[in-house]
């Protein structure tokens, strides 16, 4: 019997476990399916991590190492190469590995930190042949940075998400010719700094409102058909163009990996594709918490850390009976221009300080404001000169503001600011 079992030893799981330990919980087990801790950070050998949390620029492995070292110093137990097969309502966790075999263990609280996976060719419906040479960006990144293999010579990248941009630079540095990065949307999918540092600096063209419709090649990719996309999202007839390449890299989105969550009967928000969570990062099942990309896909690992520390702290409070399950909850609601909001529920009574609401806007906005409405009444406005879907927005609300009125629904929407 453990107090807390953390599923996933990536940035989310590590931060949650460490924070729970620091809050007085001793019996913690972290279960990681890969051969080492650190999760996807281990293959992100570029820098840019940690600016918020550590006020310095670190590579992915360096960022991970800080947490791995702390975990070890704190003596937190972890299992590698271990796969959780099942979690039950009475908080029994079944996992397997080669050394312990099949293990079934009970726990007082669970923290879900399984991360996310990449959208695939099939999910976005690229037609044509099925040759070798089509990779998701993360898989290609693993091959290059962890296994030590190049995946091709002439490359087309579909999707301007951050991993796609990072891989454009990485492949170029390894001697490949990255012919183009295509983005279906009229705006980039990744952080602005990555557009500049990974594409512009290497003269790699970015073509917005373009996508790949078909792949040619019997055994290995020989080329792809590229089309232009109009404002309504449809293919512009006659815009087809064939481009030779031997590799197609897909960076077309990430999906929280919630099979365990769903099998356990925990409610999933269709907007985030992660579990509904409250102010404590607790899911619809009492004592089961979730944090990081398994809840919603983040732009920066620093925010994952912050959110996961909250989950770890909350799990400790839950075990110490400091969270009131029955407390009244305010529902957050994405209004006009907002894709989702996390958390979806706020039990004001359980708040220690304020609450951070994380959200993404649906399209690009200049000179706009985020308007917070409590049951229709505006309680806060935040001006933003520029907002894009690829960068998360954060709105802080104090406990006092929320406690002041008997709020049922807290909506946030985007409004243009009149010039």
């Amino acid at each position: 019997m453990y107090d807390i079992i953390v599923i996933g030893g990536g940035p989310a799981g590590l931060a949650a476990a460490i924070e729970a330990k620091k809050n007085g919980i001793d019996s913690i087990l972290v279960i990681e399916r890969d051969r080492e801790l650190g999760g996807i950070l281990q293959q992100c050998i570029h820098n840019g991590f940690g600016l918020h949390v550590f006020k310095e620029e670190l590579t992915g492995p360096e960022y991970a190492e800080k947490f791995i070292n702390e975990l070890k110093e704190l003596g937190i137990e972890y299992k590698l190469d271990s796969m959780v097969l099942n979690i039950t309502e009475d908080k029994k966790v079944d996992f397997i590995n080669s050394i312990d075999g099949y293990v079934s263990v009970k726990t007082k609280a669970i923290i879900l930190a399984m991360g996310c996976r990449e959208r695939t060719r099939g999910a976005i419906g690229i037609a044509g042949a099925r040759p070798a040479g089509v990779f998701t960006a993360g898989a290609a990144q693993r091959f290059l940075n962890m296994e030590g293999y190049m995946v091709g010579k002439t490359v087309v990248i579909l999707g301007s998400g951050d991993i796609g941009l990072i891989m454009a630079r990485r492949l170029t540095l390894e001697g490949a010719k990255v012919k183009v990065v295509l983005e279906r949307m009229p705006h980039p999918g990744g952080l602005t700094r990555n557009i500049v540092q990974c594409l512009d600096d290497y003269n790699i063209p970015l073509r917005l409102a373009h996508t790949v419709t078909s792949i040619k090649g019997k055994d290995r990719v020989e080329g792809v058909t590229i089309v232009a996309i109009d404002k309504s999202g449809s293919i512009i007839p006659g815009s087809e163009e064939y481009m030779e390449c031997d590799t197609l890299i897909l960076s077309v989105g990430l999906i929280p990996e919630n099979e365990l969550t769903e099998n356990a009967g925990i409610a999933i928000d269709p907007a985030t594709k992660g579990a509904y969570v409250n102010e404590a990062m607790e899911t619809s099942q009492e004592g089961v918490f979730a944090c990081g990309n398994v809840v919603h896909v983040h732009d920066l690992v620093d925010y994952v850390t912050e959110e996961s520390r909250l989950a770890g702290r909350s799990a400790a409070r839950y075990i110490n009976d400091e969270l009131r399950a029955s407390a009244k909850a305010v529902r957050t609601k994405q209004g006009n221009g907002i894709g989702y909001i996390v958390p979806q529920f706020i039990r004001t009574e359980n708040l220690l300080g304020g609450v951070n609401l994380f959200m993404r806007v649906r399209s690009v906005y200049s000179n706009s404001k985020l308007v917070v409405k409590a049951d229709g009444r505006i309680i806060k406005e935040i001006k933003r000169s520029h907002m894009i879907p690829s960068e998360m927005e954060r709105v802080q609300l104090s406990k006092e503001v929320l406690a002041a009125a008997d709020i049922k629904e807290l909506a946030i929407e985007v409004m243009e600011v009149e010039q």
């Binding site: 695939t120 099925r130 040479g133």
Partner: protein
């Protein structure tokens, strides 16, 4: 000198090899690809049809009806997934009601017993997710869904366990007729045989023409499919057909034996024989036609799409038998739908045919019809999982997290006879990469295992075809 050389290691070639391996014969199977079941057998609807569709008196009808009940035994012996489920042909208007009435009559004439016409309410109780505009349906209760490539792989393995030889990467270039029989020349070598069996799928006409005069042509007919995530697998409980109309056969919606949802196929005649390319417009059309059956098929859960090639003969029926002008040369050609369903009966028929031509074969006393069972780790009980890991710790290491496939299972299918040599070969045998991440996570690990177990360089591991190398070179290093 072989007694029998079989050309093609699809479902027919492997089935005939397995049935012939019951006898004291030297058998060789020649396959042009680097794996068995690598063309029509790997991409089809995976259905064991009841047998109401084929014309009364046709070979299709005869072997379909005979073949269907044979699946239970062979799948049991070879540990191949098979599930018996209903099939429904839906009628949405009065014309289609007439059509299903005709299909019913044809089914009765073909000798079917488990066939009925049901009304709208009965359809709704069997399949609550279908569009409410259904007026009635033809129902059979002896349909089945099966793993077609798993079956061919298992047949090949069992045939080899019983002495048959398999030669991959052997494309037949020419055939000489000699006094004792035939010499088959491939890109790799020459194989002499008393009898030849032509199971070359879409290329069967070309093989025939090397030995006998042209008597049929194969014109491949392409069909495109969607595979949906397992979370959509319960949308239907049966194989759901639309009525054949002047506009075509309509598309099917059915669960697969592994719990995914399969939607397709459409039908296009194509000129190039090995064209497995999907096309955007046709896939859109599959969606459109499928919505006639269920309006809200969750196409956002598509995990992949694929092409199947039907080996459609210009004769309208299976071409099975000794070529008139080539003694001892047996054609098993034009095996389009319901070819999979008919395959067990065709295989037995071909064996009998060869026996009558040769004057009979002697049975082997030690023929073993049983294939060593696969360990399907995820399906085991807690106790069995514990024991499996104790026996071999590699069963404790999950490689494919979507389908929960362990290293032990992957290593096993590499080292079996007719074992996996490619990433897709591993995938077809034990499913890593079949799930929603499509190999994103497990791909690198599978390549690593193949490289280690086969003793080859990581750079030489291929996805599917012989030139389908995945990795280009080592990185620069630091």
């Amino acid at each position: 000198m072989y007694d029998v050389v079989i050309i093609g290691a699809g479902i027919m070639g492997t089935f005939i090899a397995r049935e012939l391996s019951r006898y004291k014969l030297r058998i060789a199977v020649l396959e042009k690809s680097n794996d068995v079941a690598n063309a029509t057998t790997k991409a089809n609807s995976a259905i064991v049809h009841s047998g109401y569709d084929a014309k009364v008196g046709s070979l299709k009808a005869k072997f379909n009806v005979l073949g269907n009940p044979m699946f239970d035994k062979v799948c049991e012996e070879l540990d191949v997934p098979l599930r018996r489920i209903d099939s429904l042909v839906l009628a949405f208007n009065e014309d289609e009601m007439t059509t299903i009435g005709e299909l019913y009559e044809r089914g009765i004439s073909n000798g079917l017993k488990k066939i009925t016409l049901i009304d709208k309410e009965q359809v709704a109780s069997l399949e609550p997710n279908l569009n409410k505009t259904v007026l009635g349906a033809l129902r059979t209760t002896d349909c089945g869904i099966v793993g077609p490539f798993e079956l061919a792989v298992a047949l090949a393995e069992n045939a080899m366990d019983n002495g048959a030889e398999l030669f991959l990467n052997n494309e037949v270039k020419s055939i000489d007729k000699v006094s004792e029989g035939y010499i088959v020349h491939t890109n790799e070598g020459s194989y002499k045989a008393k009898y030849l069996v032509n199971c070359a799928g879409v290329h069967a006409d070309e093989i025939n023409n090397m030995v006998a005069k042209e008597s049929f042509r194969i014109k491949p007919r392409r069909g495109q499919y969607f595979v949906l995530d397992k979370s959509a697998g319960n949308l239907v409980n049966s194989v759901v057909f639309q009525c054949p109309t002047s506009m075509g056969k309509g598309v099917l919606v059915l669960p697969t034996v592994h719990g995914n949802l399969l939607v397709g196929p459409d039908s296009q005649d194509i000129d190039v024989k090995d064209n497995f390319d999907t096309t955007l417009d046709d896939l859109e059309n599959v969606k459109l036609v499928a919505r006639k059956t269920i309006i809200n098929i969750p196409f956002d859960k598509v995990i992949t799409s694929f092409v199947g090639l039907r080996a459609t003969p210009d004769t309208g029926d299976f071409v099975i038998g000794e070529a008139g002008d080539a003694k001892g040369f047996i054609n098993v050609a034009g095996i389009e739908s319901p070819g999979l369903s008919a395959s067990p009966a065709i295989a037995l028929h071909v064996v009998e045919l060869l026996k009558s031509i040769s004057g009979g074969f002697e049975e082997k006393k030690d023929f073993n019809p049983i294939r060593r069972k696969l360990t399907r780790f995820y399906e085991l009980s807690e106790q069995e999982k514990t024991e499996a890991i104790k026996r071999d710790p590699r069963y404790g290491r999950v490689i494919c997290r979507c389908e929960n496939i362990t290293e032990g299972e992957i290593v096993d299918v590499i080292h079996r006879k007719a074992g996996a040599r490619t990433v897709d070969g591993v995938k077809r045998r034990t499913r890593p990469g079949m799930g929603r991440c499509q190999g994103g996570f497990c791909g690198p690990r599978v390549i690593e295992i193949l490289s280690r177990e086969l003793g080859i360089n990581m750079l030489d591991v291929v996805k599917d075809g012989v030139s389908s190398k995945i990795l280009d070179k080592e990185t620069k290093g630091i």
